[in-house]
């Protein structure tokens, strides 16, 4: 069985409010009281908390289990007296340590934010989106909780699945061979969160050092950058980042949002139908770019990119650029990257091409075909959870492309290039 490679990569800011809550005495006979250093939520104060949480669509705030061998009190204990807001939604557990942020002055950014806040207002009646001047830490947490669930719904919709498509939490099987017929006939993973038993874990820190400490303590990922990690015992994916990474690249709300989208799409694809093997990266990265570019053309994020491509972070007009390159025959063909699992030697043109190919599939074919394609590439395991030999996996991708779209890689490439040309002529 191929070793699962767990990808970690990075990105940065900090302010720590130190509250003075006394730490409770430890008592071996009682469950430890969970210290909270975040101030109470001002948006639901004076309300019945249970009703407010229900309206927000949250299962709980504060104390909850988290990844392998640790929970939120343990995180709080190890990271110190930081104001950490923990929220559990339908599909996520979010830890937010984001500081207060002024509403952006730039017109488009402000308009986009106000639209989101209008949607949030249905759950936070005190919110006045048009007159608000700043986002306090709790509001930022609520906003990200909403964003995470909206992104999940979009990706699940694209894959053609709902919560009911996956085994419920009550199921306890681990391997396909142990699953009841309903769940072994077509392997959909072990649990309800796109196939994972555990919810997606998202940590948004301000300081690079805090993120580094969390990652060093609880995972084996590198601590000098944003990290994604898979917890085997809880069968859950984690994404952790800090505003400080990339010399403060994520200090603006839209930059952080873009960064989260890019990484979570990767988590969703990896989780889909269970995390059992690494898949070719071209469409996963292309999909991540697509979702991120739906939010903003700027704030490029890359799974990996060749070292000298520093200018990649300042080039945004991808549709025009990829067309020009394709016209001159300067795009690496799909056949050359179809089976590649890492994009460490991708340059900007390769990334633009990945995005554009996925864009082509989603625009020119019925959307449900993408779910058919993804569904066939993933979940290809035997009774003991083992994927087939690598060559067979790669062959499976070809079969999936053919089953969903009636294409092989060369025909796909030819159609995509023709589509690019057609679009350029229309302009």
């Amino acid at each position: 069985m191929r070793t699962l490679r767990l990808v970690a990569f990075a990105l940065t800011i900090a302010s720590a409010l130190v509250a003075q809550d006394p730490r409770p005495e430890e008592d071996e006979t009682k469950e430890k009281e969970a210290p909270r250093f975040a101030p109470p939520d001002p948006w639901i104060k004076d309300e019945d908390e249970a009703k407010a949480l229900e309206r927000l669509g949250y299962l709980r705030v504060g104390r909850m289990t988290w990844g392998d061998g640790h929970d939120t009190p343990r995180i709080q204990e190890d990271l110190g007296k930081l104001p950490l807001i923990f929220i559990e939604t339908a599909h996520f557990k979010l830890c937010s340590n984001l500081p207060l942020l002024e509403i952006p002055k730039e017109k488009d950014a402000r308009k986009r934010l106000v639209e989101e806040l209008e949607r949030l207002r249905a759950k936070l009646p005190r919110l006045r989106p048009k007159s608000i001047r700043e986002l306090d830490p709790w509001l930022r947490a609520h906003l990200f909780a909403q964003r995470l669930e909206e992104l999940y719904a979009e990706v699940a919709g694209l894959f053609g699945v709902t919560d009911a498509s996956f085994p419920p939490e009550s199921e306890t099987f681990y391997f396909r061979g142990d699953a009841p017929a309903r769940w072994s006939a077509e392997w959909m993973g072990r649990g309800p969160y796109l196939g994972n038993k555990g919810k997606f874990l998202v940590l948004l820190f301000t300081k690079q050092s805090t993120c580094g400490r969390y990652v060093t303590t609880f995972t084996k990922a590198k601590s000098d950058a944003s990290a994604r990690w898979y917890f085997e015992q809880t069968d859950s994916f984690l994404f952790a980042t800090a505003l400080d990474f990339g010399e403060g690249a994520f200090r603006t709300d839209v930059a952080l949002h873009a960064h989260v989208i890019h990484n979570l799409v990767h988590c969703f694809v990896d989780s889909f139908k269970g995390y059992s093997y690494v898949i070719p990266v071209w469409w996963k990265e292309g999909l991540a770019h697509r979702f991120r570019r739906q939010l903003t053309d700027e704030h490029n994020n890359f799974e990996a990119i060749k070292d000298q491509e520093k200018r990649a972070f300042t080039v945004y007009d991808w549709d025009e650029r990829i067309r020009m390159r394709a016209e001159h025959g300067l795009v690496r063909p799909l056949a050359a990257i179809f089976d590649v699992e890492q994009c460490t030697d991708f340059d900007l043109v390769d990334h633009m091409a990945c995005w554009s190919r996925v864009d082509f599939l989603l625009k020119e074919f019925p959307r449900e075909k993408f779910g058919i394609f993804a569904g066939q590439v993933k979940g290809f395991v035997d009774g003991r959870g083992n994927p087939p030999e690598h060559a067979r996996l790669l062959e499976r991708q070809r079969e999936a492309l053919s089953a969903a779209y009636g294409l092989d890689p060369d025909t796909f490439e030819a159609q995509w290039l023709a589509w690019l040309k057609k679009h350029r002529r229309k302009q």
Partner: protein, 250 residues
């Protein structure tokens, strides 16, 4: 091409502080599989100073530079760096240290690394030999000259090469990197635009690529020089101790 006096990317990368954020959580390796219950695990306990040092230094035998975060610094490196003066020399000197950053709450009684700051008025940062001796405490308000003096003294004991001379040489390398980065960025932008507009067969492409290749060659030369300057050669452990004894006159 307009002159850009800011540090370019290569120099910025070289000047980045390489912090290590050590943690002590041996219990996590022994945790049973999660059973859905919350689990706040161990009772934290302050380690003896020697053990705390061993935990943070690991297999790294470089001298230590240990900073504890505080509410005033708010995640910056203000305890080490000056807000008013050029910090490049400081940043380069750190290359030969194992730089450790500990959290705000390291001063709480039960933090595993508490005894690294056991003094009545704990320092904001300290430097020491790799095995923890000859501690030089600093309060975060030190002058740059005081900081450099402390760092250079420790480096002279732990390394065979001359850190001060090496820093001068590396600063020259950084200036060369800036020139190369600026030129390369300019040529690459022109190359990309030419490829977009005219394709790969344009003669301009070959000319620009030749220029970029020449820059890469120059860059490789600078990197080789930089590597040599960075290699100050840690003294063998026993020799370092003898040297320190000689310095003390003992």
């Amino acid at each position: 091409m307009p002159m850009d006096f800011r540090r370019q990317q290569t120099a910025k990368d070289r000047l980045a502080l390489d912090w290590h954020f050590p943690v002590y959580a041996p219990d996590l390796a022994e945790q049973p599989a999660d059973d859905g219950k919350t689990n706040s695990g161990r009772a934290a306990v302050a380690l003896p100073r020697e053990k705390a040092l061993l935990e943070i230094k690991g297999e790294d035998h470089r001298p230590l530079l240990v900073v504890r975060e505080c509410g005033f610094c708010k995640g910056t490196d203000d305890a080490l760096l000056s807000r008013r003066l050029n910090n490049e020399k400081t940043l380069l000197l750190t290359k030969w240290f194992h730089c450790v950053k500990l959290p705000n709450h390291v001063l709480t009684a039960e933090h595993p690394f508490r005894n690294l700051f056991a003094a009545e008025h704990p320092p904001h940062l300290f430097l020491c030999r790799h095995y923890g001796s000859e501690v030089m405490n600093l309060d975060g308000q030190q002058t740059q000259a005081q900081l450099w003096a402390a760092m250079e003294e420790l480096l002279a004991r732990e390394y065979e090469g001359d850190a001060r001379q090496a820093v001068r040489g590396i600063l020259r390398c950084l200036n060369e990197y800036d020139t190369l980065d600026s030129l390369e960025a300019e040529f690459r932008v022109r190359l990309e635009e030419t490829l977009d507009k005219d394709g790969a067969k344009s003669p301009k492409v070959r000319a620009l690529q030749r220029k970029i290749d020449a820059i890469q060659k120059d860059r490789a030369d600078v990197e080789a020089r930089e590597r040599e300057l960075l290699d100050l050669r840690l003294r063998p452990l026993k020799a370092a101790e003898d040297q320190a004894a000689g310095v003390r006159g003992g």
